[in-house]
Symmetry: C2
Subunit: 199 residues, 2 copies
Amino acid sequence: MTQKQVQKTLKQLPVRERLIRCGVQLYSESGFQNTGIETVLRMAGVPRGSFYHYFKSKHQFGLVVIDSYAKYFSNHLLSILQDTSLTPLARLKQFVEVACQGMSRFDYKRGCLVGNLGQELAYLDDEFREKLEHVLRDWEKQTAVCIEQAQTCGELPSDQPSEQLAQIFWIGWEGAILRAKLMCSDKPMRMFSQWFFKM
Amino acid sequence: MTQKQVQKTLKQLPVRERLIRCGVQLYSESGFQNTGIETVLRMAGVPRGSFYHYFKSKHQFGLVVIDSYAKYFSNHLLSILQDTSLTPLARLKQFVEVACQGMSRFDYKRGCLVGNLGQELAYLDDEFREKLEHVLRDWEKQTAVCIEQAQTCGELPSDQPSEQLAQIFWIGWEGAILRAKLMCSDKPMRMFSQWFFKM
């Protein structure tokens, strides 16, 4: 989608949804503290009054943005990990492939909203910290199901519980996304996952 | 060291060194963009004029702070990885152990300056991005030497080049530090490294 098409799609959304969508994009790129409400309003083409009609504060808006991103990403993850046209291991590989394409599409600038805000906010705000941790736990649970299926059909070794493997995957994967931003390349994501899944 | 002792030690340092030391601490905790020069000056007990005597701008100060942290950490890493009283694998384990203790000592708030600034600045500034990537490459090189020694004496499998393994370790390790901050626990660091080194 071109920038013009994105703008057009944005304008067709209800105001609340439009603000959240802009929040996801801006926080993924520049972080929470560095993005003023003014920047969100400008991008969304919405007056300040409307913002406070929907959200009590920037803090509450931040929490809603995380929820929205978490829900979107969870659906995305499930759509790949439950695709029974592929074997379980092929689904995990497909998740990596799509993530690499996504990072490249945004010039390695966006990364993962949860990783970005975790790095920035874990120290500052317990409510954010706990929410972000909770989101990662959810993604891990979904990934564990697919890893277990791969173990059952012999595509991955069964010497470690799938929940533990899923947690280790997500620990390293967020590091790989961070490094991809630094290297402007999907190489770290491919290296880490190839090694993890012995692909 | 108590906070009072830290303050006393700080005051004994030359001004330039004092500013850098405060920069390392503040950027490790709150990031670069969220830490104004005023905050650094207040912590260092230094007037604004002195800052500009030593540094052209906040940007240049940031680059010097990264260099200083990189040098300190590189010495720290080498002192462990070249400790011949331990086997190569025991040295790698020792590095993990000391890192876990360090994270706990600062209540899981500081993390790695390079990981923090990478997350925050990769998108914004190519000079920072390239410097941070360069620092990680240095740490990887040092780690690769120890991994190779562990391979030579049969403590680690030799089926992958040590440089590649060191890179994968650092990709995941920065993710583990990030997650430790989110969980307020060293569990992610221990899980990732135990799995990586099959400890």
